[in-house]
């Protein structure tokens, strides 16, 4: 019995781990993004953010610890130091930060995570979407 169950458990675990990793790194189209966010508020935020934008990479970051406006001020400031960042939107309600990069920017997920860490928050999930 154990011999039958064990491979299934290992297989499922590997799939969950791989899906988790894909979630972090994948570039998405509109339908995929809506499927993943599962939230009309998050979709509305995304639509509002991208209304006047085109030919950009939109990075959507889920953030832990972003509970205070005053403490989150450094996020905007730090991202705007990068000339390839065209727009930043912070939502305390959603716990999300949206960053619009020019298409020629090679988005570095570790760099983004470090920016949040250096500002006192933790980036838990990152999605990149081209528009």
């Amino acid at each position: 019995m154990i011999k039958k169950i064990l491979p299934i458990v290992v297989l499922v675990s590997c799939n969950i781990y791989a899906m988790d990793k894909m979630h972090e790194h994948k570039s998405l189209n509109n339908d995929e993004y809506k499927t993943i966010t599962h939230s009309s508020d998050a979709n509305n935020m995304f639509v509002e953010f991208t209304t006047s934008l085109s030919n950009m990479q939109i990075v959507v970051v889920d953030v832990n610890g972003m509970v205070c406006d005053f403490c989150a001020r450094g996020i905007e400031k730090t991202f705007y130091n990068d000339n390839d960042v065209k727009k930043v939107k912070v939502s305390l309600e959603q716990g999300k930060v949206l960053i619009a990069y020019s298409l020629n920017k090679k988005v570095d997920l570790d760099e983004i995570k470090n920016i949040f860490l250096s500002n006192g928050q933790t980036a838990t999930d990152i999605i990149i979407k081209n528009i």
Binding site: N64, G65, V67, C68, D69, F70, C71, A72, R73, G74, I75, K77, T78, V90, S91, L92, E93, G95, L117, S118, N119, G120, Q121, T122, T124
Partner: protein, 203 residues
């Protein structure tokens, strides 16, 4: 945002000069903070810089009305531990300072805070050693936000502060309010005709 800059300047000029432990003692990596604080015993101006999000170094000018003394402190704060969740943040810090008056004057302490968008709590304990007397001060803060503001909104908090120092040896409990918008924060409280005021600007 300009009106808030003027508001801060006006308040700094109106209220008399005082000090102890500061809320939000570390900024983001590369960030600077200017603070002004006054209460029944002291006033202080404090500038600190955070080379990294883990610590800050700063200079503080203190006008100690209780001991009729003025001096500078070199202060440092180190983030011992931080926990971020989706809805909260918790921090523990150690802080210390040396006075420029003499090596006999120094302060050290611990502080911690936990907050959500709705609730805030903080504790601190500081010891101050001087030539003439040693004393310590403990402080507890609890707060609630009457509404949840979004980023860039004006944020308001209704707070209660309890302070005790070993000079008066008595707990003082009083309400105060905290407002912040953008890079500016102000706390205002009063008890027995003593103002407790704290301004903060980050840049």
């Amino acid at each position: 945002m300009g009106i808030y800059k003027y508001l801060i300047v006006i308040l700094v000029l109106i209220f008399p000069l005082s000090n102890e432990v500061y809320a939000r003692p570390i900024s983001w990596s590369g960030g600077s903070t200017f603070m002004y604080k006054t209460d029944s015993m002291k006033s202080s101006y404090y500038y600190h810089y955070s080379p990294l999000y883990r610590y800050s170094l700063g200079v503080e000018y203190v006008n100690d009305r209780h001991f009729n003394d003025q001096y500078f402190n070199l202060r440092g704060t180190y983030l011992l531990d931080r926990e971020n969740t989706k809805s909260s943040q918790r921090n523990f810090y150690i802080t210390g300072g040396l006075s420029t008056k003499s090596s006999d004057n120094f302060i050290y302490g611990i502080q911690g805070d936990w907050e959500t968008r709705r609730l805030y709590s903080a504790i601190s304990h500081t010891n101050q050693h001087t030539k003439t007397k040693d004393f310590s001060e403990s402080e507890i803060q609890l707060g609630i936000a009457p509404y949840l503001g979004e980023y860039d909104d004006l944020h308001s908090w209704i707070m209660v502060k309890a302070k005790k120092n070993t000079i008066d040896n008595d707990w003082n409990v009083y309400p105060f309010v905290k407002f912040f918008k953008g890079d500016f924060l102000i706390e205002l409280g009063t008890k027995n005709s003593h103002w407790d005021i704290h301004y903060m600007i980050r840049f």
